[in-house]
C-alpha cells in the first residue's frame, strides 16, 4: 500500500489549523465540556458550497469543509465506541478552527492504512 502521509506536509498543499478536542463530564444529566487544543497541519479543501438558507427570520450561512491530516479526527463518542483509540473518554466531535470560522466534524474517513485521516466538518454558525 502506498503511504501518502508526506502529502499532508507538502507546503504546496498543506496549511495549519486548530483542532479543539472535546471531552465531557456529566453533571445532573448535562454534558459539561472540556477542550484541549491541537495544532494540525494538513490539506483543507471545500466539501460543499458555502451558502445561505433563507428562513423567515434571517439568512443563515452554512457550509462544509474537508480536512486532511496525519492526525486523527474524533467524532462524538462514548468510551471506545468508534472501535479505535478515542482517548478512552466520552466526548463530542472535534471542532476545527480555520481562517476564523469553526467547523464541527460530522464525518470521518479513516484512511489510516494510507497514512492519513480525512474528515468533513460543518460550519458552526453563531459563535
Amino acid at each position: 500500500m502506498i503511504n501518502i502521509a508526506e502529502m499532508m506536509y507538502d507546503p504546496d498543499f498543506s496549511q495549519g489549523y486548530t483542532v479543539h478536542r472535546k471531552t465531557v463530564i456529566w453533571t445532573a444529566g448535562k454534558p459539561i465540556e472540556t477542550t484541549v487544543d491541537y495544532d494540525y497541519i494538513g490539506v483543507v479543501v471545500a466539501s460543499d458550497f458555502k451558502e445561505i438558507q433563507q428562513v423567515p427570520e434571517a439568512d443563515r450561512v452554512s457550509g462544509m469543509m474537508s480536512f486532511y491530516s496525519t492526525g486523527q479526527f474524533f467524532l462524538s463518542r462514548t468510551f471506545d465506541t468508534q472501535g479505535y483509540d478515542s482517548d478512552k473518554k466520552d466526548g463530542t466531535s472535534d471542532q476545527i478552527e480555520w481562517r476564523g470560522n469553526k467547523y464541527k466534524v460530522i464525518q470521518v474517513l479513516p484512511f489510516v492504512d494510507y497514512g492519513y485521516w480525512e474528515c468533513i466538518a460543518a460550519r458552526i454558525e453563531g459563535e
Binding site: 445532573a28 444529566g29 448535562k30 463518542r77 462514548t78 466526548g91
Partner: protein, 183 residues
C-alpha cells in the same frame, strides 16, 4: 413582590432528580449523572451503548383549560400604587424516552413511583403536582447500526402553581374634559 414559577433550568433539575429516584438511582452519585439525560444539549452530547440504560427527559407546556382561569388580586402598597397578582395553574407535559435492555422495566418503575408520597412531597415543595392519569408506556425498539435497540416512551402531565406580580397605579385624580365635535 415575588414571582413564583419554575424556569426551564429549575424544571430540568427537578425532573432529572425525580426520574433518577423513580428508577432507583442515587442522584448524588457521579456514576449516575449520565443515566438520565436532558434532551437538546446545545453542543450535542456523546451517545450511548446498546447495553446502557439511559433515559432522556423532555419538558413542555401543554394546552389545558385550567390554564385559562386566572385569579387576579390587588394589594395596595401606598396611596398611589398597588400590586396586581395573577395566579393560575400551568400545565406541563414530561416525556421520557427510555433506552437500554431494561427500558421497558424502567418505564414500569417510573410510572408507579411517580405516585410515591416522597416523590409527591418533593414535587409539592416546588409547587408541582401530578395529574393522576399517566398514559401507558409504549415499547418501540429502534433499528440502529444493524441492531434493534430497546426503546420505550412514556408521558405524564403535571400542574404547576404560578404567581406573577406587577405594579399598577391608582387613578387618584380623574381628569374629565369635553370636546365639541362639529359635524
Amino acid at each position: 413582590m415575588a414571582n413564583i414559577f419554575l424556569s426551564k433550568s429549575d424544571l430540568e433539575s427537578l425532573f432529572w432528580n425525580i426520574t433518577e429516584k423513580c428508577i432507583g438511582l442515587d442522584p448524588t452519585l457521579q456514576e449516575n449523572a449520565s443515566k438520565v439525560r436532558l434532551s437538546w444539549p446545545t453542543d450535542g452530547a456523546p451517545g450511548w451503548k446498546i447495553t446502557d440504560d439511559i433515559i432522556f427527559v423532555r419538558i413542555n407546556d401543554y394546552d389545558d383549560p385550567i390554564t385559562k382561569q386566572r385569579d387576579i388580586q390587588s394589594a395596595p402598597i401606598d396611596d398611589n400604587t398597588t400590586i396586581l397578582s395573577q395566579e393560575y395553574t400551568r400545565a406541563l407535559e414530561i416525556s421520557w424516552s427510555l433506552y437500554g435492555p431494561n427500558s421497558w422495566d424502567n418505564s414500569f418503575l417510573l410510572k408507579n413511583n411517580l405516585y410515591l408520597q416522597s416523590i409527591h412531597d418533593q414535587m409539592a415543595n416546588s409547587n408541582i403536582y401530578i395529574v393522576p392519569n399517566i398514559s401507558a408506556p409504549i415499547r418501540m425498539p429502534e433499528l440502529f447500526s444493524a441492531k434493534w435497540w430497546e426503546h420505550t416512551t412514556m408521558n405524564a402531565r403535571f400542574y404547576e402553581y404560578v404567581k406573577i406580580d406587577s405594579t399598577s397605579n391608582f387613578i387618584t385624580t380623574p381628569v374629565i374634559s369635553t370636546t365639541q365635535r362639529t359635524l
